[in-house]
């Protein structure tokens, strides 16, 4: 019953029609114009959150969609990145760049350490070990009051201004400025992720997902490739955590709890793990649904859970995955992805 290549979605290439130049340009234009379109501080903040969540979901997809490793502990990077940013900017030096670098670097180190152990396991054992590691970090953050503030969390995380000291500086206190700052960072990192995903290295990861034994036979070090994927995913997740920290201005150990990890997996699957931008789409969907439902009632998880159940049963390729498959069937006559096998 282990996931096999007989699954009709698993042999599709990860470059769907949405990642073509026109689609990306349109999406970027939409993102740039968003603050003018919504004209409302509340929705600009929602868009900012969606951008950060998109980066987080795309980072997780390096493991799930590309390498075939289902991690149940990705919230650890959101949390550790957020705490690293908060601790550095509050206690050491209030600099946006230093904070973000601290967030990324701490998660790279953490992912390297965890990855050494995790990548040797497969399937459910991998999921369980990532879950266990993330819960360890959660426990530490929850009880180590002196440093993390315990379950009270940390308040008053700054939004340091950016610029060249003495020459000019840009305040990020306004919602619009901050939105554009996040957009530039997230777009740059997603572009980097896209470059990695479509490099020969990215192809090897997909080969590992399809058939690790065969990759081993070719003579490629599967464990090392998995470790690299693990570190890339963790580092990108850490940047998302750092951005989240400064965005919210408040963090708590809940960011590290296992249900948070489940939510990131949910975003990834909701959009479609076999398309590059699918997870970002899923992140937007989830946050939008939550926001919409919360206007009517507080029980948004019933709605999201119900959607997830229906999706798993009827649309396992995710929403964007479904439309991409549909579009590619129209254009190349239902033969999508078969060439990826030969």
């Amino acid at each position: 019953m282990e996931g096999s290549s007989s699954n009709k979605f698993s042999i599709r290439r990860l470059t769907g029609s949405v990642t073509n130049r026109f689609g990306v340009t349109a999406l970027l234009a939409l993102a740039v114009l968003a603050p003018f379109l919504v004209q409302n501080d509340y929705y600009i903040q929602l868009c900012t959150e969606i951008l950060i969540a998109s980066l987080l979901a795309i980072s997780l997809n390096f493991l799930i969609g590309y390498t075939g490793l289902v991690s149940l502990g990705h919230a650890v990077y959101l949390g550790v990145g957020a705490y690293a940013f908060a601790l550095l900017t509050k206690n050491v030096y209030p600099s946006m760049w230093a904070g973000l670098i601290a967030a990324g670097a701490s998660c790279a180190l953490l992912a390297w350490f965890m990855g050494v152990f995790c990548v040797r396991l497969a399937g459910l054992y991998f999921a369980m070990l990532t879950l266990a590691f993330s819960q360890v970090v959660y426990t530490v953050a929850y009880y180590w009051r002196d440093v993390t503030g315990g379950d009270d969390g940390m308040l008053g995380i700054p939004k340091p201004e950016i610029g060249i000291p003495g020459a000019f500086s840009i305040s990020l206190e306004s919602f619009t400025n901050f939105y554009y700052f996040v957009l530039i960072i997230v777009a740059a990192l997603i572009f980097l992720a896209w470059k990695i995903a479509n490099s020969p290295f990215g192809r090897v990861l997909q080969a590992i997902r399809e058939n690790p034994e065969r990759v081993e036979f070719i003579g490629l070090p599967v464990h090392r490739y998995k470790l690299y994927a693990f570190i890339i995913a963790g580092t990108l997740g850490g940047f998302a955590g750092g951005l989240y920290s400064t965005f919210q201005g408040y963090i708590s150990p809940d960011l590290l709890y296992w249900t948070q990890s489940g939510e990131i997996v949910l975003m990834t699957i909701l959009g479609g793990m076999y398309s590059f931008l699918g997870p970002a789409f899923g992140a937007g969907m989830l946050l939008f649904i939550r926001d919409t439902v919360l206007n009517f009632m507080e029980y948004w998880r019933i709605v999201v859970g119900g959607i997830l159940v229906l999706l798993v049963l009827f649309l396992p390729g995710g929403i964007l995955g479904f439309f991409e498959g549909w579009a590619s069937r129209l254009s190349i006559g239902g033969n999508d992805g078969d060439d990826a096998r030969s």
């Binding site: 019953m1 152990f117 459910l124 426990t139 159940v309």
Partner: protein, 293 residues
């Protein structure tokens, strides 16, 4: 330092009582893993449902409330589990395991909010059933009777489960399905029905755990997602699919928590992870695990 016997005995018994509740949840979880290969994230929700249903039956002003609840609530939850398995999980068995994981996560979200919707956000307390009120006193030592009841019920249910698995026809089918469900199917056995039965049995056990735990803990939404982590740890330690392992693992965790708290107050969980991480890394099949999943 003076050795305070009655204090340590109390800690020991507390640990044992918690271990028995944990065993009820973990045993179902581990059988599900062994037979269906499903990591059921919603298993903690069944435990939560059991606790909330016994709270509702405790509102009835009749001394028999506990027994009525103990009899019917697990049946309700098991029926619920049957529906989930038959209609949602069954179509997914041929697919990647990620999908079953997601489906059960979806039900975790739904059930958590459903409980909020029906019972509200505030903490509930369930009274101790009349028959087990009071404390047992021997010399200087005194201990609540209800906890002793749980400590006795745990092994009894363990023996009952052992009997089902090893001495009944259904148990034989369960074990056969764990070894090779395709072969069992080829032999003309309705494997789907075995799977449904296993899932219902797991839900029954977990809700029973929730009922027994309700009078000694506060009943609240979110208790399900909390207990599932400890149950996973028990399953990892004992080995996925090993029911004896679940018992040993539960006792180990119960003791580590009871005594760990005395040594390092808030960091008792660290002891547990210190135990579980090396097991996962060095011997992922656990102490008693045979099935490779």
């Amino acid at each position: 330092m003076e050795l305070d016997v009655s204090f340590w005995l109390t800690q020991f018994l507390n640990g044992l009582a918690n271990a028995m509740v944990l065993f009820l949840i973990a045993s179902g979880l581990t059988i599900l893993l062994g037979v269906l290969g499903v990591l059921n994230l919603a298993h903690g929700s069944f435990y939560m449902l059991g606790a909330f249903l016994i709270f509702s039956s405790s509102i009835i002003k009749n001394p028999s409330w506990f027994w009525v609840g103990l009899l019917f609530a697990p049946l309700v939850v098991a029926g619920f589990g049957t529906i989930i398995e038959a209609f949602c999980l069954r179509p997914l068995y041929g697919r990647e395991r990620l999908y079953t994981l997601l489906l059960t996560y979806g039900f975790t979200l739904i059930l958590d909010d459903l409980v909020l919707l029906i019972w509200g956000r505030d903490y509930k307390s369930v009274p101790i059933p009349a028959l087990f009120e009071g404390r047992l006193t021997i010399g200087d030592f005194s201990y609540p009777v209800y906890f002793l009841f749980i400590i006795a019920v745990g092994p009894l249910l363990g023996v009952f489960l052992w009997f089902i698995l090893n001495r009944t026809n259904f148990g034989k089918l369960i074990r056969a399905a764990a070894t090779d469900s395709e072969m069992l199917d080829a032999l003309g056995v309705n494997v789907n029905r075995v799977f449904t039965g296993v899932f219902a049995l797991g839900a029954w056990l977990a809700s029973l755990g929730g009922i027994l735990a309700a009078p000694m803990r506060s009943v609240e939404p979110g208790m399900g997602v909390e207990i599932i982590i400890e149950s996973f740890i028990v399953v990892i330690i004992g080995g996925m699919g090993s029911y004896l392992g679940a018992f040993v693992g539960a006792v180990l965790i119960g003791m580590l928590k009871a005594f760990g708290i005395e040594i390092l107050e808030n960091f008792a969980m660290i002891f547990i992870y210190a135990l579980v991480l090396p097991i996962l890394i060095l011997r992922p099949r656990g102490l008693f695990g045979e099935t490779t999943i």
